[in-house]
Symmetry: C2
Subunit: 84 residues, 2 copies
Amino acid sequence: MDTITIIGLIAGALTTIAYIPQAIKVWKTKETHDLSIVWLIILAVGELIWIVYGALINSLPVIATNIGSAFLALFILAYKAKYK
Amino acid sequence: MDTITIIGLIAGALTTIAYIPQAIKVWKTKETHDLSIVWLIILAVGELIWIVYGALINSLPVIATNIGSAFLALFILAYKAKYK
């Protein structure tokens, strides 16, 4: 694996990991009042399109990252929808 | 501009625009209790590394998106730091 891909994977790992504390916070507290549902929906759709773009340019970091991020965004969105 | 770049820019526009409602919500309400500061810091750092990766693979969507996203993440982070 080349250096550029590794840099991309580090970036991707961080921006994906970034959602984990938020997901845990929402999961534990069930408090989602300060989270914007519009934000979550646009984010999830955008990440799904990023997966397509990543596939088209053959970028493993873009694909892998956005699969992870989309999953977490949808997880938080599910809590937001349930607990408001 | 080729179709692949346009798809990437659409994805990037969505994942960047996604932060705008959150930024406006934080700006209006000053309520950031449910937002994780760990999330915001990791996200901002990750987005800065994405800009480097985007430059290395010559991907305009990756560069442009992460400049926008990093700016918004830092904006929200500033409010979080100020109002807790």
